[in-house]
Amino acid sequence: MSTPHHTAAHHEEENYLTHDSSIQSWLLTKDHKRIALLYFLSVTLFFTIGGLFASLVRIELLTPAGDFMSSEMYNQAFTSHGVMMIFFFLIPAVPAVLGNFLMPLMIGAKDLALPRINLASWYIFIIGASLAVFAVLTGGLDTGWTLYPPYSSAYSQSRVTIAVAGVFIAGFASILTGVNFIATVHRMRAPGLTWFRLPLFVWAHYATSLVMVLGTPVVAITLFLLGLERTLGFGFFDPAKGGDPVLFQHLFWFYSHPAVYIMILPAMGVISEIISTFSRQKLFGYSFVAMSSLAIAILGFLVWGHHMFTTSQSAYTGILFSALTFLVAIPSAIKAFNWTATLYKGSVSWETPMLFAFGFMGLFLIGGLTGLFLATMGMDIHLQDTYFVVAHFHYVMVGGGVMGYMGGIHFWWPKITGKMYSNFWSKLSALLIFAGFNFTFFPQFVLGFMGMPRRYHSYPEEWQILNVMSTAGASILAIGYVLPAIYLTYSLFRGQKAPANPWGATGLEWQTSSPPPPHNFHETPTVTTEAYDYQSLPLSATPEKGASHV
């Protein structure tokens, strides 16, 4: 992009990891890179907890009878799985880990605009998460992650209030992160880095931040009302007191549909970076892809009613929501076509991140296209609340979101840690995750069309074979997820030292050393070209595969 540095060659140089190693320097750090790592460790922990609950669910569903655990325990298991994965892994994962680490680096800044707020957001997140984990481990939570009243307000015996308080508090972490990113993109861009020279990762995070800032307060208020109803007996959602249970669903999905875009938009940003880098082509239709992120963020706020086609919501309201839902599909289609076209006449290298990007394409396409089934009102009646919906949103949020996250972790791992990981094991992991994922969730589309309702502890016998396939696939998926924990950790100790720019990428983050110095750049870079300018990339910036730069 511009002003290349050659600092990467000095090995003894201090970096953000080594310049101070006291515990205090980590817990009180204002460095966005260290805060990103704090988030990384936290969300990995919550992913593990959520994953363990998923295993319990899949083991129970091996047999038609509810025989592995009681129905009460089962209900807690799928609820805990959903709450942990959504609120404490998927929502923070890409923005708070990769976004935190990369946003300042990508725009040539020393840090985020509000470093203290950034640290505060992590503490708030941890307080919220601790409450939720406490609720889940003591007395459990059995309302489903959707928390529909009147079950959650008047019937559930579980720790609803504490769990809801946890999610409520964690929401503020999300708001603070969003505000911070918006301020940073507006104020901290390097000289010459105009809006339309920004990497698409930055555009995607900017759009995501808008959703976080505008949507999260609504879910916070909703959960607050639910808490009041449960503890003090208010009747906002209770028909016996003149309230309306469907009102909760409106408020809940007003946030929770856009929340899907908090999980998927940043992952799309990751995919844009990976596909461009490993094709050595400027992303096809750059401005279309950038604007489609904003379109998704805005339209995403207008479609929530598609979750309520089978409720008492009026048919005419439903029609409006159905139409808008189809509209929000278009920007995603634009992205998918542009990503694919980027490979055309490129120079394609199938490194591990590119394998994850390929996995993302396959899974997100299926996830997005099956969304059309559910936007189609007459079709949704049959599929609503079945395993079809479960399969659909796992394809979007795990197939899309987590594949993007994994791709991003593998893409920027050399930058974050200064180490290269094993090519073989990482490619194997990408393959296992892709295969295991399809094996797990594809049968669930069939189960859903057969009519198997979600959140069922036991089910009719004729559906066992599909459930066994799903559980078998989940075991493969689990291996795919455990492998990176091993080879990435191993790379920290035995991995080859990473050069500044191991993939021959163009972003500013690749122009500083790996890992970067505490203040990112020794001198503020000046940008003179558009993003993804591979022509002016110096040949020295693209070492032969596997070769270390030092």
């Binding site: 129905s71 209900n75 529909y148 079950y151 019937y155 016996a240 003149g242 249970p245 094709s279 050595r280 089978t310 409720t311 008492s312 048919a315 189809f326 599909a329 278009i330 289609a333 634009i334 694919t340 076209a341 490979l343 055309y344 006449k345 120079s347 394609v348 290298s349 199938w350 390929f358 394409m361 396959g362 396409l365 299926i366 296209l369 936007a375 189609t376 009102m377 007459g378 079709m379 949704d380 009646i381 049959h382 609503q384 609340d385 079945t386 069939v446 069309f449 057969m450 009519g451 959140r455 502890h457 036991s458 009719p460 004729e462 074979i465 591979y534 022509q535 040949l539 693209t542 595969k545």
Partner: protein
């Protein structure tokens, strides 16, 4: 129930099932086509333009504008087709025909309580005749549930405080799954059982069998009397509420403007939450009965107002107490005023 193994299609046992499956087939084709197209191209380009040397610097490709427009407009057109078909099918599934017979369904953790208009009752089972449109009027006594009959491709939420509707016309005699699809707590997956589609005469025999009981409309008439509803809902000097004879299905003018149709949901609401919609010309005097009546008793009153009073001739000299209904002059109506205590 399921016959193929491993099963891929649920039984097609209602008139709408065929159309739902046709739409499903279209959606599956669209999904398969675009997934294979994009993934195929990704792989094809990825292999064809695979990097040959590390110093490769490919020529920058500049996308033509028509391409961006094409791949925005084509999906939009496909979506338009899906949208229109989906809306049309939605109305078909949720709009019962006029000649449908009525069955009341009440969800309660963890059972479906079913009232047939002949008086037969059952729990977690549903007996219906083949080839006859059947309308389900659905509500819940506690949390939200959802009636789901995959073989008919129908589903509708059972929401406390609200009455929802769906319908089907079963096409094949047989036994099918009946589920609760909206999570409702500990025994959610046990809430349900079997739908029995029977020949018409077998259904008539079943109605008269051991499950038989007093018809809801008769129970409703008794309740109507016991609760002294008639003291207000009658024609004459003491009238404080709309006359209910001939009311069902008519258009009603509301106090403060607007109209509504006196359908099941409206009449149910007027019994359980009388001040929600006041008929023009009346005062909100009727007490709230919800606390005294079970959902099944409300259904019985509703059946009486719908099936007995609804078919009764409206008294000739019954000016609907100052109402100026939109439609015929005989459509006053409603449940509002009754006993003289206000709320």
């Amino acid at each position: 129930m399921g016959s193929s193994f491993p099963p891929l299609l649920p039984p097609q046992a209602s008139t709408v099932a065929v159309e739902v499956d046709a739409l499903y087939a279209l959606l599956v084709s669209i999904t398969a086509f675009f997934t294979l197209l994009v993934v195929g191209l990704f792989l094809y380009f990825g292999l064809k333009y695979a990097r040959k040397s590390e110093s490769e610097r490919p020529i920058q490709v500049h996308p033509p504008a028509w391409l961006e427009i094409a791949w925005s407009v084509v999906p939009l057109l496909i979506c338009l087709v899906l949208f229109v078909w989906g809306v049309q099918l939605y109305f078909k599934i949720y709009t019962p025909p006029k000649d449908a017979i009525t069955i009341h369904v009440v969800g309660k953790r963890w059972m479906w309580k079913v009232q047939h208009m002949s008086g037969a009752r059952e729990i977690n089972e549903l007996h219906v005749p083949v080839g006859v449109p059947v309308r389900l009027l659905i509500t819940s006594e506690d949390v939200i549930h959802a009636v789901s009959i995959p073989a008919f491709r129908i589903k509708r939420d059972a929401i406390p405080g609200t009455m929802t509707t769906t319908w089907f016309n079963a096409t094949k005699v047989g036994e099918y799954h009946l589920f609760c699809a909206e999570y409702c707590g500990a025994n959610h997956s046990k809430m349900g059982g079997t739908v029995y589609v029977m020949e018409k005469d077998a259904y008539q025999r079943w109605l008269a069998g051991p499950n038989a009981g007093q018809p809801p409309a008769v129970q409703g008439a008794r309740l109507f009397e016991e609760m002294n509803c008639i003291s207000c809902h009658r024609n004459g000097s003491n009238q404080r509420g709309p006359v209910l004879e001939g009311l069902y299905g008519k258009t009603v003018a509301l106090k403060g403007g607007g109209t509504t149709t006196a359908d099941d949901a409206y009449i149910r609401e007027s019994i359980t939450n009388p001040t929600a919609k006041i008929v023009d010309g009346f005062e909100p005097l009727m007490p709230v009965y919800l606390s005294q009546l079970s959902e099944e008793q409300v259904n019985a009153l509703l059946a009486y107002v719908r099936d007995t009073l609804g078919k009764a001739e409206r008294p000739k000299d019954a000016p609907a107490a100052g109402t100026t209904p939109l439609g015929s002059p005989t459509t006053s109506a409603s449940p509002k005023a009754s006993e003289s205590k206000g709320r």
